[in-house]
């Protein structure tokens, strides 16, 4: 790729916009999550600050900014402060190759999905550093869980995406979107329902959301790896959790739901609508289900998702061979 000045400026602008998107997304999602939780539980949710509580997330973030950064005794302080930063910044890069609209891509990398999958591993690195460095037994247990969970769930996730890549024959996200049609029956979800299902399950596992929120399981480990974080440290973990959610939702929209293509008029609004529908799904199941146990979590992955995804991959490959 030609790294001229223009593309450099493009990347800078894209990164800035993505930071804005991440922060904006966290603000929106905090509100949506609390409101949905409230409505499901038959209570109003945030209500007092601003019209129907819309200013609540801003106030929350102000509170988190103003809070003391509590430093526990005997910590490994470099890692302790590095971990939240490390959780936040790699996610920035991951948004670059995503085609938000027909011409709206941060960086038109040819192997976009490789970049995403390669950098997605950074999330768990920050979790283990946070758990390890904070000199807390809950943190340590949470970190240990985070590693095995993330390692486990990345594999079926990649396999599911690979099935789509086999079909489209390209690692370029824009290319994958371009091959799908505008109407729902032209999307990849129709031809790859199993891959979509596997991806949907493993994205919940990958982002550590309920019912797979084992690393931070509240009723077992109080808060898991971020037990000792307060103020901005906690806020960065929070931000990166929502950013990760947004990322996997965008990837889901791109790979399975037709990306920016939609009925009547293609455009970035379709990408966002689809990504937020997936986000709503994640929020919805969080407030519906109990949490799985840790061994069950790994069993689901190694005994079911992984074989299923391999079978799916094989079938896709064979069928593609026959067709072509």
């Amino acid at each position: 790729m030609d790294l001229s000045l223009l593309s450099f400026v493009q990347i800078i602008v894209a990164v800035l916009l993505i930071i804005g998107l991440m922060v904006g997304n966290a603000v929106v999602m905090v509100y949506v999550e609390r409101k949905v939780a409230g409505f499901i539980q038959r209570r109003p949710g945030p209500y007092e600050v601003g019209p129907i509580g819309t200013v609540q997330p801003i106030c929350d973030s102000m509170k988190l900014l103003g809070k003391q950064l509590f430093v526990p005794a005997n910590i490994d302080w470099i890692l302790f402060f590095l971990a939240p930063v490390l959780a936040f910044f790699p996610v920035l890069l991951l948004f670059l190759p995503i085609p938000f609209g027909p011409y709206l891509t941060g960086l038109g990398v040819g192997d976009g999905i490789l970049l995403i999958l390669a950098f997605a591993g950074f999330g768990v690195l920050s979790n283990i550093l946070a758990g390890w460095s904070s000199n807390n037994k809950y943190g340590l247990l949470g970190a240990a869980r985070a590693v095995s969970q993330s390692v486990a769930y990345e594999i079926p996730m990649i396999m599911a995406l690979l099935a789509v890549v086999f079909m489209s024959g390209s690692l370029n996200l824009s290319e994958i979107v371009a091959q799908q049609g505008s109407w729902p029956w032209q999307w990849n979800i129709v031809v790859q329902p199993l891959a979509f299902f596997i991806y949907l399950v493993s994205l919940v596992g990958e982002t550590n959301r309920a019912p797979f929120d084992l690393p931070e399981a509240e009723s077992e480990l109080t808060a898991g790896f971020h037990t000792e974080y307060s103020g901005m440290g906690f806020a960065l973990f929070f931000l990166s959790e929502y950013a990760n959610m947004l990322l996997v939702s965008f990837v889901c929209a791109t790979f399975f739901l037709g990306g920016y293509k939609g009925p009547f008029l293609d455009g970035f609004w379709w990408t966002f609508a689809k990504a937020y529908a997936v986000m709503f799904f994640i929020v919805w199941i969080r407030w519906t289900f109990p949490r799985v146990r840790f061994d069950q979590l790994l069993n689901i992955n190694w005994k079911w998702l992984l074989p299923l995804s391999i079978i799916n991959l094989w079938l896709t490959a064979i069928i593609m061979k026959i067709i072509s």
Binding site: V71, F81, E220, P290, R291, R293, F294
Partner: protein, 397 residues
């Protein structure tokens, strides 16, 4: 330290001295295997329901050994009984177990009536049954929500609270309070029910039956919950016998022991109700057991309302606040939501009882946790803890 020094990366706190545990941790650590981690769950932990503290020796995710540490909510009710008149202790009984206060009311009032030979008018007996069973339902509902919350599902407890609030509204009509009720008096109850009470209760029974179907769909049949609780924490009858566990735990293990049927008190002999036994002795059995008990209680309330006789709700010449107990000893037990609630009174005929011993079912039930949790996963240990239906004020008294 100045207030500006809010980040202190260069480690003033980074003292080399190791953090030394308190008396109980030291005591527990003495028997620990090398290479294990002592995890201190509580007293402020999201799933220890109040202020229970559990010391757990962990080998990775496995609990090698666990020991509950009690006493964070100890209020010495037994000492208070020795300085108050018998009447003045009634409000205390409502505060021993805040989820099923009426069973404690009954155990204490029943013990005093048994010792002093007071007879309770029939209407009062029926009112006692109705209020006690309503209260039992509300206790089980809260347990249901809290148990699912222990397993990570946050929403059901708020649904359970809808019904619980309705029961609180109903019970408030007669008891005047919503939580720590002191409704019973020696020789009767403190107030009669009115038409509104009967209407609300009659409306509530079919409503709850409908809701129980929703509970089944949302939680009981849920595959995640099933796999979390099935086969987890088996408690055999033998274990229950050695630890004195009673109530739903024992019945889930398959032994139909219920004080309401075995050693009848009040008007329970006149009422037809089944004593359900659980499908299995694991967490799922205890879960189903309590849901079945809600249905049993509904049947009892229906019958009691239908049979409700007219008449006074308080015996004539009921004991006043300065009432003295006659000399003697008595033991009276009722079936609370968590098991057999017992009150042992010894009186020398003085102004206040010589000694009152409160037998809390939760105390015995919790004591078997150490054995049941041995060798389980941490998540399972917490599921077992939740399935015991603990109310810490009752355990600590």
């Amino acid at each position: 330290m100045s207030s500006l020094n809010f980040i202190n990366p260069f480690g003033v706190r980074d003292d080399p001295g190791t953090v030394v545990g308190d008396f109980y941790t030291d005591n527990f650590e003495r028997n620990a295997r090398p290479g294990t981690v002592i995890l201190n769950l509580g007293p402020q932990h999201p799933s220890t329901h109040g202020v229970l503290r559990v010391l757990a020796e962990m080998d990775g995710e496995y609990v090698v050994r666990a020991e509950p540490v009690l006493g964070y909510l100890h209020r010495m009710h037994e000492k208070m009984a020795e300085v108050k008149t018998p009447w003045q202790f009634i409000p205390n009984t409502g505060r021993v177990d805040y989820l099923h206060p009426i069973s404690w009311n009954w155990a204490y009032a029943g013990a005093v009536e048994q010792l002093a030979g007071l007879t309770v008018p029939p209407r009062a007996e029926y009112l006692r049954v109705i209020s006690c069973e309503l209260n039992r339902i509300s206790s089980h509902l809260l347990w249901w929500g809290a148990f699912v919350m222990d397993l990570g599902g946050v929403t059901p407890i708020l649904y359970a609270f809808e019904e619980r609030e309705t029961i609180n509204d109903i019970l408030q009509i007669i008891t005047g309070s919503r939580l720590t009720m002191s409704y019973f008096r020696f020789g009767g109850v403190s107030s009669d029910i009115d038409a509104r009470f009967i209407k609300l209760t009659k409306d509530f029974i079919p409503y709850l039956r409908e809701r129980l179907k929703m509970y089944t769909g949302l939680v009981t049949d849920n595959v995640i919950l099933r796999r979390r609780v099935e086969g987890v924490g088996p408690m055999s009858v033998d274990l229950c016998q050695r630890y004195g566990a009673t109530g739903p735990i024992l019945r889930a293990a398959g032994l139909a022991r219920d004080t309401r049927r075995d050693i009848p008190y009040g008007v329970y002999p006149k009422l037809e109700f089944p004593i359900p036994t659980g499908p299995s002795d694991d967490c799922f059995g205890r879960y189903m057991m309590r849901l079945k008990e809600i249905e049993t209680s509904l049947t009892i309330i229906e019958q009691a309302l239908a049979q409700l006789p007219s008449g006074p709700y308080m015996m004539e010449k009921a004991p006043k606040a300065t009432f003295k107990l006659p000399k003697g000893e008595t033991y009276f037990a009722v079936e609370g939501a968590r098991g057999q609630v017992g009150v042992h009174i010894v009186s020398d005929g003085g102004k206040s009882p010589y000694r009152i011993k409160l037998r809390a079912p939760g105390f015995s039930n919790l004591s078997l946790f150490a054995e049941a949790a041995k060798g389980t996963l941490l998540a399972d240990a917490l599921a077992i803890l939740g399935s015991l239906d603990l109310v810490i004020p009752e355990v600590d008294r």
